[in-house]
């Protein structure tokens, strides 16, 4: 079986290389037969990869310990579901997952592009084949998943228990769907550059894929943050860890793209910039993969230290030099004809938005590679931690928040004083009233007041947009407000889906502000029966329980929470010690309300039954998860494709805003 797996991957590599050559040749010599053959080779390659994947899954499920990979990640007694997720918990499997997802995307893209933009097909097939070839090369020569041992051990080592959690089960595949998804828009754009300029249609196609990849990245980041909060037990959800940053950077660049592409579509500007963003996003996804695989930075996530990093860096350099070279070659052809008319216009707001997103991405990049950079420049290795990131990113994020409110309401081309007044008076008032209200209620942290006030302002602008749209619709169609709202959103899915995403981001902002600025912490050692005050809660420690369960020793601190005399019920804070090896996991005691989270970890205990507890009250954390949900909902709405008419119709007559289906 293992040899079949090895052979499949090798054959897949051969097919990928063939597809790359055939697509390149077929594109240059305009021989469609070659291109079709290349596309078919990719289908066969996908089938072989699926075969290899199936073999690995079968080995994991059967707990076949002749496979070294299975030994490393599976153990008798591990739940079956986690045996399956072991597929991607190790390096070799995760690379195979990457290749599989890429194949899936490639097949879908090839089908779609062969039908709609056949001129782009050779380029897309070639690029996808090239990327696939790299990963298959890694899987055959550098990190093969099908290494076997002649004398299988009786039991495997099992996965790191920190990974035995539902959030960690879905976090990698979701993130990979995003990372890998950035390859397709890259392929489309490169193909467009090769055939002579990324015109409007090509970017539209790339946009759909970027939106999907962005959607997956957003969810992956949220799952990771949730896992960090709930499982790692340090009370936070984001640590500016290099691997977290690795996923954040392409997300930032994709978000910038989603905004700049709108300017390109509406005003045919920023085309060069948009193309650069697509290339950059792909580069960052490969760079992110490189960060998580190599040991070049000390991250608690990194799988291992190995020569893997060198290959990734080489591939990254090659693809970036090639792609940017193409961009430079086609630079003049991409130039747009329109000018930026005014500093106060929607175009300039979007442009500033892009600049700030890129500034954040640059900062995150700088902070992440700082150790390597500082060693190269000064000879001494230095690190920058969360204070650096917080210091730089927070003001930038506040600017973005402001732009989120201002951008959609600014007119195209040029804003007049009248339009400014009309659009920003009411939301501005909301923001100021909110600020005054918070100050009156005793909030003193200036950053927090500003963040909340701005959030109020932005919420006001979004509500205003919805209200105006509904009013216009009702003026034309006379529907009831609810129906008008539904029809409005369905008619303008991109715009209103985007506004919903903005609302989700607002919730996220408020949640992050609340939990960062107003969190309180206590570290206490209690005897059974003693209680401690934290925030507005009183937590009583009732005693320590001990139990054993399938190879683990579980220590549970039984607690009871009270708020202002009201009994809020029991709470358990647990530590699970794995008797094989030295691993342990934490189960936090968590009580979440929309107002705040009461978060308790069992830090230590004595033989006498005293427990050392860390208690945190984190306000507004639930808003973060809620915000994430709203973002995904808004994105989902925006992704539903617009209906296309069966035949080319008449141009919409001037002034006739028709509420009916266009």
């Amino acid at each position: 079986m293992a040899s079949l797996g090895r052979f499949s991957l090798l054959a897949a590599l051969v097919l990928a290389l063939y597809a790359l050559a055939a697509a390149a040749l077929g594109g240059r010599a305009v021989r469609p037969g070659l291109v079709t053959s290349a596309a078919r080779a990719l289908v066969a390659m996908a089938a072989l990869e699926a075969l290899a994947g199936g073999i690995l899954i079968a080995a994991l499920v059967r707990r076949d310990y002749t496979f070294a990979y299975v030994v490393a990640h599976v153990r008798d007694g591990q739940a079956l579901g986690y045996d399956l997720t072991a597929f991607w918990s190790g390096m070799e499997g995760s690379l195979l997952l990457w290749a599989l997802i890429l194949s899936g995307y490639t097949l879908a893209a090839v089908r779609s592009i062969a039908r709609t933009r056949p001129r782009l097909l050779p380029g897309v097939v070639g690029v996808c084949a090239g990327v696939a070839a790299f990963f298959l090369f890694m899987l055959t020569a550098v990190t093969p998943p099908f290494v076997t041992a002649p004398f299988p051990p009786a039991d495997g080592q099992g996965m790191n228990p920190l990974l035995l959690n539902p959030w960690m089960a879905i976090h990698p595949p979701t993130l990979y769907l995003g990372f890998v998804g950035l390859t397709i828009p890259f392929a489309i754009v490169v193909a467009g550059l090769l055939t002579g300029g990324a015109d409007e249609g090509g970017v539209l196609l790339a946009r759909r894929w970027m939106l999907w990849a962005w959607y997956c990245l957003s969810m992956g980041l949220m799952f990771g943050a949730k896992w960090s909060y709930v499982v790692l037990g340090w009370g936070g959800y984001w640590a500016w860890d290099p691997v977290e940053n690795a996923a954040l950077m392409p997300w930032l660049v994709s978000t910038a793209f989603l905004h700049s592409v709108l300017i390109q579509e509406r005003r045919a500007m920023l085309q060069q910039w948009t193309v650069v963003l697509v290339v950059l996003a792909f580069g960052l996804s490969i760079f992110g993969t490189f960060l998580t695989r190599s040991g070049v930075l000390s991250s608690v996530h990194s799988f291992t230290q190995s020569p893997l990093g060198g290959y990734f860096l080489g591939f990254l350099a090659l693809s970036m030099v090639g792609a940017f070279g193409l961009v430079a070659w086609r630079w003049e052809g991409l130039r747009s004809e329109h000018t930026l008319d005014s500093a106060l216009s929607r175009e300039s707001a979007f442009l500033l938005n892009n600049v700030v997103f890129l500034a954040v991405a640059f900062t995150v990049f700088l902070g992440t590679v700082f150790p390597v950079l500082s060693e190269a420049v000064t000879g001494r290795r230095m690190n920058v931690g969360p204070p650096f990131f917080d210091h730089v990113v927070t003001p930038l994020a506040v600017v973005l928040l402001l732009l989120m409110g201002v951008g959609p309401l600014l007119p195209w081309r040029r804003a007049s004083a009248a339009s400014l007044r009309n659009n920003f008076l009411a939301p501005g008032a909301v923001g100021i009233i909110l600020a005054l209200g918070l100050l009156a209620a005793g909030m003193r942290a200036p950053g927090a007041v500003l963040a909340f006030a701005l959030s109020g302002f932005v919420a006001g602008t979004v509500v205003l947009e919805f209200a105006r749209g509904v009013r216009v619709r009702r003026a034309h169609g006379g529907e009831g407000p609810v129906r008008a709202l539904a029809a409005l959103v369905l008619q303008h899915r991109r715009r209103y889906g985007g506004y919903i995403v903005h609302l989700g981001i607002l919730l996220l902002f408020c949640g992050v502000t609340g939990s960062s600025v107003f969190s309180t912490q206590r570290l206490v050692t209690l005897r059974p029966g003693e209680a401690v005050e934290v925030g507005e809660y009183r937590v009583r420690y009732d005693g320590l329980r001990q139990s054993t369960r399938s190879g683990t020793l579980v220590m549970t601190a039984a607690l009871r929470a009270f708020s202002g005399g009201r009994d809020l019920g029991p709470l358990d804070a647990r530590r699970t010690l794995f008797l094989t090896g030295q691993d342990s996991t934490t189960d936090i005691g968590l009580r979440s309300t929309p107002r705040d989270d009461l978060y308790v970890t069992l830090v230590g205990w004595t033989a006498g039954g005293d427990a050392t507890l860390r208690l945190l009250v984190n306000p507004l954390v639930v808003w973060i998860w809620a915000g994430g949900l709203v973002v995904t909902a808004g994105a989902a709405i925006g992704m539903v494709p617009e209906r296309r008419a069966a035949r080319v119709r008449e141009v919409v007559p001037a002034g006739a805003w028709s509420p009916g289906g266009l």
Partner: protein, 139 residues
């Protein structure tokens, strides 16, 4: 890329943005940068005045881990294979922290020779590493 109607104002705007970013980044580095040191460097330099916060990497010495309940901090020793340095730490201990595992601590060395850590990061032990057998951490 962009053709502004008023190029001078546009360039001025760009310059402002770049300067603002540079200022923020510089301030951030001042605030957050720490030097990496090795156990050996700390041990031999320690008599001199303790410099700013540093980052120390090493392996947790087996048998050195003890929870000091009265002071509510964790005591352990970190070694680079040659020298070892005692550490005390009162923050959140990651679950993967264990004897014999690689850790990174950030903090200052105190006058009494003990490294007072404000941050503790532990590394997931490598489980499958055919390329470099020496780096394999037992356990």
């Amino acid at each position: 890329m962009i053709r502004p109607a008023r190029p001078v104002a546009f360039v001025a705007g760009v310059v402002v943005v770049v300067l603002a970013l540079a200022y923020l980044v510089y301030g951030g580095i001042q605030q957050g940068a720490t030097y990496w040191v090795t156990v050996g460097e700390l041990r031999h330099e320690h008599p001199a005045a303790p410099h700013g916060p540093v980052r120390l990497g090493g392996t947790v010495v087996p048998g050195s881990v003890a929870w000091d309940a009265s002071h509510q901090h964790l005591r352990f020793a970190v070694t680079d294979g040659v020298d070892a340095i005692p550490v005390r730490y009162s923050g959140v201990v990651p679950d993967i922290f264990a004897e014999g595992r690689q850790v990174v601590v950030e903090g200052r060395i105190s006058a009494d020779g003990v490294f007072t850590a404000t941050t503790l990061l532990a590394k997931c032990p490598t489980k499958y590493n055919p390329a470099d057998p020496q780096k394999r951490v037992p356990g």
